[in-house]
Symmetry: D2
Subunit: 142 residues, 4 copies
């Protein structure tokens, strides 16, 4: 499926007393990877919420392989692994400027409505999403 490469420069506030990036920062970068991914295919997550769809994280897995440091220039590679009307799965890889793999992870998401109840994307929105994904893939970005 399609993928998105996001650039991140490590912020000082993201480091901890070990002198490296705190591990709870990676889920935030993963989320920015997803945000970039959805903006890139033309359905920014802001639009989802305006349409009454909220995407919630139900599963997070991260494996940490090597530390990131302040001012490192990272690439977050985000892949959409699966999309259904009620759920989505993404995977992530974080590389530093030396092409070293620092971390990899995955998230699973449910679609809920404004009352936090599970729901399905309506047909029109789901079709739009799928067709934008296809265009993106045809454009060679996978």
């Amino acid at each position: 499926m399609a993928q998105q490469i996001s650039e991140v420069i490590v912020r000082y506030a993201e480091t901890d007393a070990q002198g490296v990036v705190h591990h709870a920062t990676y889920p935030v970068w993963f989320e920015e990877g997803r945000s970039d991914f959805l903006r890139k295919i033309g359905v920014p997550y802001s639009d989802w919420e305006q349409q009454g769809y909220f995407v919630v994280v139900v599963d997070l897995n991260t494996r940490y392989l090597a530390p990131a440091f302040y001012e490192d220039r990272l690439q977050v590679v985000t892949r959409l692994e699966r999309i259904k009307k009620r759920l989505m799965e993404f995977s992530y890889q974080v590389f530093n400027q030396h092409q070293q793999l620092l971390a990899q992870g995955s998230t699973r998401h449910l679609i809920v409505d404004a009352d936090k109840q599970p729901c399905a994307l309506n047909g029109e929105f789901y079709q739009q999403l799928c067709s934008k994904l296809e265009q993106q893939q045809e454009a060679g970005n996978d």
Copy 2:
């Protein structure tokens, strides 16, 4: 006016690569001082939002005197300096377990409604707030 002393144990995630607490953590502790203050006088901020009043920060000042470290046991002293129907002012002092003053600050807040428009607390809620404050002060907590 009344004051509230909140206990905080420094979290590892709150430190940065200098080995000390990152300066952007202090406004978060100030906010917890305010939350504790309002809970203590019996009008928790959750109730404000349920009544349609949102308190937004319009001014923040912090002076940093000495660093805090992981596992330090801090006291955040929160004082309500001023309350009107449309605004509030608080001041804060942060001490460590050696009674050393680490930081002091102040915040100014406006009351806004659900549409983020400035508004005044209604008479009933404002009276309740003032009378709870008085009870608190009579109880010797100032």
Copy 3:
């Protein structure tokens, strides 16, 4: 193995625009659960770093079952699942004030030295750790 129950009151800064706690906050609470656990058995993590041992996260898994809200009073139950000279495993459960399970997770950690190289705890420190754990368990806290 031994367990530790930590109390957390949800901070406003920990919420996001969905009105619930942001998912990247849970690893921070897990870490505080570990910190409490180690303080409780008498070997606070500050001591580890002073002795030259740094514990790094190599694996994080979290399953999110229900949202947490501002001012919720949570219990983070931390269990030490495994300890060796070179690695540790913990598991976590987060409950709200209604005894509802909100999230569960686990972390795996390696011991590294000041140069971030994997190392083993020395015999004395490891024995101290194990004997403190035993005392704790005999004291009925498991």
Copy 4:
């Protein structure tokens, strides 16, 4: 003095339950403004720490004028207001994509050594800093 314009896209994790960016996020953006500023003139802050100079925040002031929202594309304008061998002052303005001023602030910093004791930049490093600043200004970036 010289200024730097940094682009920031608002992260979901930076929002809070009011649906807007949490106020403690702005000092983090200011810090990124400073980081960009120093990278731009060729003396990235990583180099400072490698040379044994640590810049600590001693004063932070922020005035909040209007809220920022998830996915807003912001410009953080950072100006160096003053530089001495022992202290620095910066000011900041944050604009959104509609050229609306959301916040303005300032920070004051002391230079400390690895033991957190106040110190002065050595002559060579200070001269390098000043000459890079001049080049930058001559290049029309102020």
